[in-house]
Point group: D2
Chain length 117, copies 4
């Protein structure tokens, strides 16, 4: 599926649910960016917390928790949540995430040229 189409699908659903992405002024726009950033941080935190437990199982004798294989499906869903917040933040900023990612990849192509084998 086209990247831009997936993003549009999410934003359409958000709009129907009353989670706005377009605003009348910068004060409201900035407030919503703050809220969605906080949402994104929450999802990253869930990912981090689960990954930490996987790591403790590997490094601390006697610590009980999930293996990486057991945690992977949940970890992947947390990443999907992060992606959804990313779509929202980009849209509020009137960005085109597909385009912005491709542009950033080009910048990195030059920046990391010296590491290419």
């Amino acid at each position: 599926m086209q990247f831009s189409e997936i993003i549009k699908k999410q934003i359409d659903a958000d709009t129907r649910r009353g989670f706005p992405t377009s605003f009348e002024n910068d004060r409201e726009r900035q407030d919503q960016l703050m809220r969605d950033l906080v949402g994104l941080v929450g999802e990253i935190g869930e990912f981090a917390d689960l990954l930490k437990k996987v790591g403790l199982v590997l490094s601390t004798p006697g610590y009980s928790g999930p293996s990486l294989a057991e945690a992977a499906p949940q970890l992947r869903l947390e990443l999907a949540d992060v992606a959804i917040y990313l779509f929202r933040l980009s849209t509020i900023l009137e960005g085109d995430l597909e385009n912005d990612v491709l542009q950033k990849m080009k910048i990195n192509d030059k920046r990391y040229q010296y590491l290419e084998r």
Copy 2:
């Protein structure tokens, strides 16, 4: 462009540069997930720091910093960086981010049904 194709493009470039995404055992896989999570947190931090400054301009008399319009291009590039780390984390977990996002959207469709207008 297809979402999965963009992700593949990034992972191919990373592989050429010596930033690995495939591993022999869970210990190495977990270590790399940690490192990429830390990278992602760094990018989110840059986004947060710039957004904070935009907010202070709006709320604190006399504080000097960028307007939202001035900061937006940089904010969008930070989001692109976050996306790139997300592609890496998903790949290390042998996930399919396009599929995982679409699956999560379906879960949210049910969960937020009661908010639909």
Copy 3:
């Protein structure tokens, strides 16, 4: 209680539990900093997630979740968790957090001089 004494109390307990803060080389030290940073991000995520829900109650008609008064005790415990990771990170870096905070306050005294009333 002295700030430095509280930190020492935490590190002593960690040591008894096998959560190390001293290392033989930079590779191990860096790995542990990564792990504790991930732990800290997990705690901040829990704080963010709960704060987000409080915000949605205030802004989204029909959204069900806790009030700020209901969430406050849990939010405060999450901050305590963040503080504990901070003590660990500072100790691994052979820092003196009390001293470092006081030094940073002095830097801020100059930096924000122009905002003083």
Copy 4:
């Protein structure tokens, strides 16, 4: 220095600079918690970004960046910044961070009893 005294010193300075910590209603209180959380995330991001670079030097042949010893003083100042935001968040929640940390330590004493040697 007493932990509570250090916190008070910071909050007094913030008040003089127009960075508020007390509010008339939950809407304003929640907004400020969001803003300070975003500030805290920014500082953690700076810490993460620098720590990532230290890690890349250790793991990626040819990558140029600081050693842990070179980065440590800056990393410690970032932690001080995180601590300062923590003091603010706790105060806005009408918490007593010293007390909350000591309470959380007691909870952990029970929780991690099984790991004690």
